[in-house]
Amino acid sequence: MREVAVIGIGHTKFGRWENKTAVELFSEAAQQAMEDAGVEGKEIEALFVGSALGDFGEGQAMIPVHCRANLGLGPIPSTRFEGACASSTVAVRDAWMWVASGAYDLVLVGGTERVLPMGTPLATRTFAMAMHSVYEVPAGLTFPGVFALVARLYSRIYGLPLERLREQMACVSIQNHRHGARNPLAQFYGKYENLKVEEVLNSRMVCDPLTLLDCCPFTDGAAALILCAGERAREYTDTPVYILGTGQGTGGPMALYEEELVKPPSRVFSARMAFKQAGLEPKDIQVLELHDCFTIAEIVALEAMGFFPEGKAGEAVEEGQTEIGGRLPTNMSGGLMGKGHPIGATGASQVCMIVQQLRGEAPKGNQVDPVPERGMVDTMGGAYGTLCHIILGRKG
């Protein structure tokens, strides 16, 4: 297969967008990406868009069709990807495959979502639709509920008292909110730079043991990328970032994972696929954007991908190992928690944030120094239902 490079990125501000539709948000990000790459619309050969809940958020299905028309692209193949919160990571992976295969040289890929128009009760209902509609949803399972169940189980399986685990979880929130406070694109830009453990522990209880500050927010926003055949990348940019490996894994209802709820096989499988394809190991990754929908989710993800031993990732976060200067700077953009989580846009946003890091263009205070050579994206849709990984590097 051919090498594939990211040659342009675009990203709206994340937060509340009352005056733009998801199609308009995507178009804004896409035009930024095309300008960044120096690519014109008529050169784009296919469009791949992650969109999870447009049907409910705005009564808008077939979002890619309307993005294509709004952007004035040709009548090119335009496809929607739905994998809940991992929708646009899967879109990036498939877009990569179409270029790697030789079918296209230049494609536009990204994601878009408006969650806030739904309000909390409907958003909570629609997020839950990623769970089993008979075996899980009717019991009243919500998304925070999934990770509340995981947190208690994690505490019990690893013999880590829940009070200790909650302090470690609070450190995840503090760190990711600090990064988000420094990122102008983040929902919580300029806020929560110096959260304290007590503030996280004592914020409003959503579902025990998760408080509001253990949870990512509801968010509107979009992100987009231009992927190009590696051999043509330097026609457009001096700073191509190459896709070195991708992986995807699939789960099912929570009950089927049993004890593996604390080390989900779908994530282990997907991450290993990506590492194998890239010819790399966890120790080779220098910056990571992972799916911190809830604080405990970051701890589980760090372990399942092989970065820290089982039961030990919380301690590593507490010690600063996921900060600049530590073993693996993680969620330097603010992650889902600080930057925001517009479901269908999240994966594409994570890829944009790693590209920023590898170009040395991340915001002051968040840029890893020296500029990293290799970074990784981890995105999870549903209760470990869809896992997707992308490994990126400055050298192909």
Partner: protein, 129 residues
């Protein structure tokens, strides 16, 4: 033998926890799937579980979805026969980590529907023994 999700729900309404036993490896699958959760075989026969098990984890949901009233507790139970089952949990207010590992039994059925649920849905309700 095919046991549908509807058959599972009808069983719950009669106080029964229904599942499938694998004719190849003997594992029990509950709630029902088209294949054995352990070996993937589709040679399965219907079986009734005891309804007893161990409380593995739970949470009290305080921000419910549209169409539900909180707070309520959701749990995962490891049944005596092996498979884990999700359901509601009847639990005293203020219960914490100390109740994990307690014995539980099937004590009822929670019936619910909304405009997206394709009709009535039924979930198991478990209580501490």
């Amino acid at each position: 033998m095919r046991l549908s999700s509807k058959d599972y729900e009808e069983g719950l309404k009669k106080g029964k926890l229904l599942g499938l036993k694998c004719l190849d490896c003997g594992a029990v699958t509950c709630p029902p799937l088209a294949t054995c959760r352990k070996c993937g075989s589709s040679r399965l026969e219907g079986t009734e579980l005891s309804g007893r098990g161990e409380l593995m984890t739970f949470t009290v949901i305080r921000v419910p979805p549209e169409g539900m009233e909180g707070p309520y507790a959701v749990c995962l139970v490891k049944t005596e026969e092996g498979p884990w089952v999700m359901g509601r949990l009847e639990v005293p207010e203020g219960a914490g980590q100390e109740i994990l590992g307690r014995r539980v039994r099937l004590s009822g059925a929670h019936v619910w529907s909304d405009k997206y649920s394709a009709g009535e849905r039924v979930s198991p309700v478990f209580s501490l023994e």
